[in-house]
């Protein structure tokens, strides 16, 4: 097992922490925060795997998630805020 695979396993462990937090916390903002972190970490891991496999179709998926995924979360935050206001 090479050093890169150890790094990938460490990344998977780092990904589990916000997943646990999202599962255990009931506050909507903390849950949104946790899922924003999961999204960023998952997309970086996708890019990491695409470098390992040298397969750049997977790499494009990671870049698309990075550029579009957070925009969706921002819209969701605005909706939650409006719901809280009304």
């Amino acid at each position: 097992m090479s050093l890169m695979e150890f790094a990938l396993i460490a990344m998977i462990l780092a990904l589990l922490i916000p997943l646990y937090e999202a599962w255990s916390d009931s506050d909507v903002w903390q849950t949104l925060l946790s899922f924003a972190s999961v999204s960023t970490k998952a997309s970086v891991m996708i890019l990491f795997v695409s470098v390992l496999r040298d397969d750049w179709m997977i790499g494009i998926v990671g870049v698309i998630i990075l550029s579009v995924g957070n925009a969706g979360l921002m819209l969701l935050a605005q909706i939650l805020k409006r719901l809280g206001d009304s």
Binding site: I17, W29, Q30, T40, W56, V63, L66
Partner: protein, 105 residues
């Protein structure tokens, strides 16, 4: 040398990831967690991506696009979340700290 540098960047990125995410499990306020998380996710991920760039210079367009998206969108998302949660906290403070019988606007 490049391989060593790329391992170094990936290692630094992982340290940032674990450092920022460890605050998530604590009992701090949302804004505190948001700050440590957005710093660690953004900087840690950029360090990991830079390590990948050192390892695969041939794919620099895609990896640099990922770095730019990460820097831009993660920062913006952190700002939007901070704005939304701060507004929520203020509204909560007004409604709960009001003296009974006294109405705030």
């Amino acid at each position: 040398m490049m391989i060593f540098l790329s391992y170094l960047c990936i290692g630094v990125g992982l340290v940032f990831w674990f450092w920022g995410t460890s605050y998530l499990v604590g009992q701090r306020s949302v804004l505190y967690k948001l700050h440590s998380l957005s710093v660690s996710d953004t900087l840690g991920s950029m360090s990991i991506l830079f390590g990948l760039l050192l390892r695969r210079p041939r794919e620099w367009p895609l990896l640099i696009l990922a770095l730019i998206c990460l820097a831009m969108w993660n920062t913006m998302l952190g700002y939007v979340l901070a704005y939304c949660t701060a507004r929520d906290a203020n509204d909560h403070k007004i409604t709960t700290s009001a003296v009974p019988g006294e109405f705030y606007e």
